[in-house]
Subunit: 459 residues, 2 copies
Amino acid sequence: MALQDVMQYLDDHRDDHLQQLYTFLKIPSISAQPSHKDDIRAAVAFLTAELQGLGLEPEVIELQGHPLIYAQSEQRQGRPTLLFYGHYDVQPVDPVDLWDSPPFSPEIREGWIYARGASDDKGQMYGHLKAIEGFIRTGTPLPVNIKCIFEGEEESGGRGIYAYTRENPEKLACDMIVISDTHLYDEETPAICTSLRGLCYLEIRVKGPAMDLHSGIFGGAVRNPADALCRIISRLKDEEGRIRIPGFYDCVVPAGDEVRQEIARLGNTDLKVKEETGVSAVFGESGYSSLERMWIRPTCDVNGIWSGYTGQGAKTVIPAVAAAKLSMRLVPHQDPDTIRSAFIAYVKDICPTGVSVEVEDMGGAKPVLIPRDSPLIQAGKTALEKGFGKKAIFMGDGGSIPIVGTFQESLQVPVLLLGFGLPIDNIHSPNERFKRSHYHQGIRTTALLLAEVADLQKT
Amino acid sequence: MALQDVMQYLDDHRDDHLQQLYTFLKIPSISAQPSHKDDIRAAVAFLTAELQGLGLEPEVIELQGHPLIYAQSEQRQGRPTLLFYGHYDVQPVDPVDLWDSPPFSPEIREGWIYARGASDDKGQMYGHLKAIEGFIRTGTPLPVNIKCIFEGEEESGGRGIYAYTRENPEKLACDMIVISDTHLYDEETPAICTSLRGLCYLEIRVKGPAMDLHSGIFGGAVRNPADALCRIISRLKDEEGRIRIPGFYDCVVPAGDEVRQEIARLGNTDLKVKEETGVSAVFGESGYSSLERMWIRPTCDVNGIWSGYTGQGAKTVIPAVAAAKLSMRLVPHQDPDTIRSAFIAYVKDICPTGVSVEVEDMGGAKPVLIPRDSPLIQAGKTALEKGFGKKAIFMGDGGSIPIVGTFQESLQVPVLLLGFGLPIDNIHSPNERFKRSHYHQGIRTTALLLAEVADLQKT
């Protein structure tokens, strides 16, 4: 049997693979919310059954948080070993009333699969297993050795897989790593991602009075914690979009001319950002284009804020506490630990009198740069161009895949970020979606990649 | 029968009056929340039954919002008519997990009655009815004509009673108005309130992207609405606590030397504010003492703010919308409508690019000044000193009682603000409470007031 039989099988089983993905998407495996612990277990059971069916010998690795799933094919000498990474957990679904269909009842609308996790990351990671299935079910020998490591804490800043990778490099030993958790450049243009921003996520709490106060009786005589929090947040960035935390830019290595020219060749993308987000005007650090702001510049965003009365009608309180979730995206060579310390020192420094502030670490990730000249990247590009029938480009990604840096450090092998999503997939938002045709093309691309990588070895 | 029989009756029925108040406090008549509509009706039924029992001919006046309750005693010529005002609705109870006992299960702890509405205003208004009961049950002729008007929208900015008062001045016609919805100066010092701040309450919503965005993909390229909202709020006041809305102070008539000296004679009250609120340091408009900041200066406070992800763990979104509830306390002669317009114009002016802002009116009240030289005020002071056995002072109150201004304008009679609460009653907050002894002393004071007012007429 040959590759063309595998491709035929994948085309013939398009609908089956969609229905099977639905089963996976129906499991509300939200890692951040303890009430979904059983659902995390259900996702683990689903994947181990799937891996077993493919003869991949799965193993559930229990850690303090949500478990890892490891699996491998028969490891034959003389052929390269590919490690597939993916995450089976998903983001929370709030605000749930903005979803047009329930987040865990997947459905197709106008060619898109709508469900939480459709694109991030269940649809993309599950596609890898479907590509492998193509070989197994057609009796076509796998051209490479396969290892899989799937985690369940990617969306909640869990650290289990970091320690496990550092402590078990021989178990995860491989020649290259493939991750599908990024996206195409646009619907017409497949892309290989060669940089990821890092992350430093924090929760900040400002405390004032011992209890909520009547804003009439005490208004004017005490510092309002919500007001103080707004003052702190408004001083994190200047009017030009530059971050004001002392030392924040110290370690930033500016992107080289080559990268900036490559980005410039993609044209003025302000309109693309406006269309994709619905904003009336783009805004960001002065001196940089929209793509540069998203791919190669660090930033700081409020992810959530809450204080006082937020129900219907009017309530005249001075809140006792105000809190916000904030995250900074980092670029090479900013270190999350250093940035976190600088943030905390700055916030304590600018905290107004009459209130106190505390900051909690909610996880982080190092920024990642991927060399473009490796044979693996070339093999990925070829597979992508065959799978999608279009020329592929190199791109950056503003998001973070926390494990990539750890893989690079501990396993010392190239990483291929082969994304099949789109920036308009609404990941982390209501109405997350994944283009149905891209799910299928992603599966085909993965099958083609296995053959390309095997060929690499031969030449 | 004579006044001393009334006072004896009130002392003898202390426990009964507490149990009856409990029944009233158990009704969760939260006016701001539509889900409590039936509870509002239950409070109306409770009061009409009570009024009927006192022979006061109650009448439920249906309006667009929650109904008014009107009642009157036999109106005999040749004696003064007192109009009692109170409100039977209460504030929401969030954050409910900070209550040490359920908000609608009243209980006594260390001499305090704990329940939502205990002090604001059920305990205080119900005390008026208990004082009247003292006359009725002892067969003592009421020394004055009584009218009552109770509303159910005081805590939610409803406007029903305003229009009703303007349109029905003959029905509410009286010689004086008594309201118990303020507080004593402290546990040792009864007080007559001679000024109330006004209110202008608004909800502000900042809108950016069409949906929540992934903060990795788009972070840095679009304006974050939560960040924009914080910037707007941080520009409402300067670092000295002065409000920066153009024209805000234009109509403020500074308090006279007499009032400022009277306040100064109460001593340095920063420590009192710190003890009552638990703040580490007081803060407010520079150039004014804590009591001045609370009684005679306007202010602006955030009452609530919300945006993005506020659940457990980390979620990396750029929120589509951010919102806040804000209120300004006003002093003579600031007009809520003028201030609202100035606020809206300023907020639109300072709104950052890339987002839009809208402001919703959530109600207001005019500031109130009460002349101190009327016989009614003197009668109130005498009753208060007899009822509490302590010398009474004049004080301001930073809160608002929206109806007072309308009563002054439409009925053209003096108003007596005879408060029995305390600034530490936690009104509008968890663990609202009312000192049990003050409930009783308030009832006694009200009975004494009826006699004092009747005596006024004679002299």
